[in-house]
Amino acid sequence: MLSLRHLSKSYVPGKPVLQDIDLDIDGRGITAIIGPSGTGKSTLIRCINRLVEPTKGEILFDGTDLAQLSGEGMRRARREIGMVFQEYNLVERLTVMENLLCGRLGYVGAWRAWRRKFPAVDIRRAFELLDVVGLAGFAHRRADALSGGQRQRVGIARAVMQEPKLLLADEPTSSLDPKTSVEIMELLAGVARAREIPVLINMHAVELGKRFADRIIGMAGGRVVFDGPPGALSDAVLKQIYGGENWLHD
């Protein structure tokens, strides 16, 4: 499905943020990437849909190397990869419905999009999805009138509107309270199950990752240092990922 081969990224030459990452994401279920701040988790996620340009390496998605794509080819690849952001990144002055339909912009021509002429099937699906994420009746609210949890629900719905084959989430719960975080994770897990797609999430909350993920990838210093099921995430591994040990127990 998705294979990263020797993926590296340096924002400043000689100071790599990602070093030689090899990863295979298959099938479905949640893969959580954990690791300390500044270790390149966000960069890794953003390299996959090329919001960040990788310095070298391959990003094989359904057999195509995304790193080689540009223009139309890249847009076609991007529309099959949904993305959820830490700060939701909704278009604040558009309505909830318009934000959801943004997920269809890769499929609908620019001229139709300008005139807000989306296919009826897209609009029907958008209303269904609003129901799924618990925002029925919010279609005409402006995004800037929503709370954080509500915004992230819209963010997820927008990504699902793309009918993605892969869902990326860049710290989707870091700006939310613990209860809302769990609800958002449940929603993401539901998407992974219902659509049978892999969901790749990078996150800070280790406990949340253990609770929801089927697979955990630990990163430190721009490299993958752990890759296994949540059960295998021992204190020794956490020490290796985050360094130190005083934070682990009281």
Binding site: R75, L94, Y107, A113
Partner: protein, 285 residues
Amino acid sequence: MTSVPAAGDPFARSWWPRVGLLALAVYVVYACAQMDISAERVETGLENAGHFFGRLFPPNFARWELLLKGLGESLQIAVLASTLGIALALPLGLMAARNLMPAWVSWPARAVVVVARSLHPVIVAILFVKAVGFGALAGVLALMVASVGFIGKLFTEAIEEISLKQVEAVRATGAPFFSMLAYGVLPQVFSRFIGFATYQLDSNLRNSTMVGIVGAGGIGGTLFAAFQRFDYDFVCAILIAIISLIMLGELFATGVRAIFIGNATLADLFRRGAVQRRDRLVEDE
């Protein structure tokens, strides 16, 4: 008890602002003396002013047809110049935005906007009168140039200040460039754009009453002729008419802004005290 360090002056004082103020005061006195602005000069000026204002009143609306024709032409110049100028300024302003466009697009666009801004509308109007001849066409062209300069610059600045996070999210959906503009960029600048556009219409309305003085059409020509013939009562009528036109324009602009920016309805505008910006509900954690 621990010893407290001796209290110093809590404010950093500088003598330079005082020196600067003193220098300014000296220069003002010097400039008055230099230009022969004395008490006697002001006195004779006031005498003359009293005489002039006496002749302004009562205003004479006998030639109201001429007045209306001039006003109508000014209004047309303003509306045409605003519409065409803004229509030209939008793509230019977008092309000049450095956060969306490569340098080889943005620099030429910026250059055009800077040139359009650099000359005062009166000078541009004179140029167009010489180029295309007397009449409203020259006025429309002159104010179009002014609109391109003003709206182009402000629109560029507004686009350069948008949140790129919202744009990034739209880009991540695989949206083509023009869809990205429509959904990621324009919603962020729309309300500011309405602000500039109404301000520009207002400003063009005022300027359209002036370009006539150099022969570029509108009420300004009538006003200038009245001045030259010492028809001060007609001058007064024209000035009153211009002030009313500008005030109407102001009301119109306020209404447009209230509807597009403040989310008022048309009915709200006619209700007393209803036109105020509704506070946005923003709930942040």
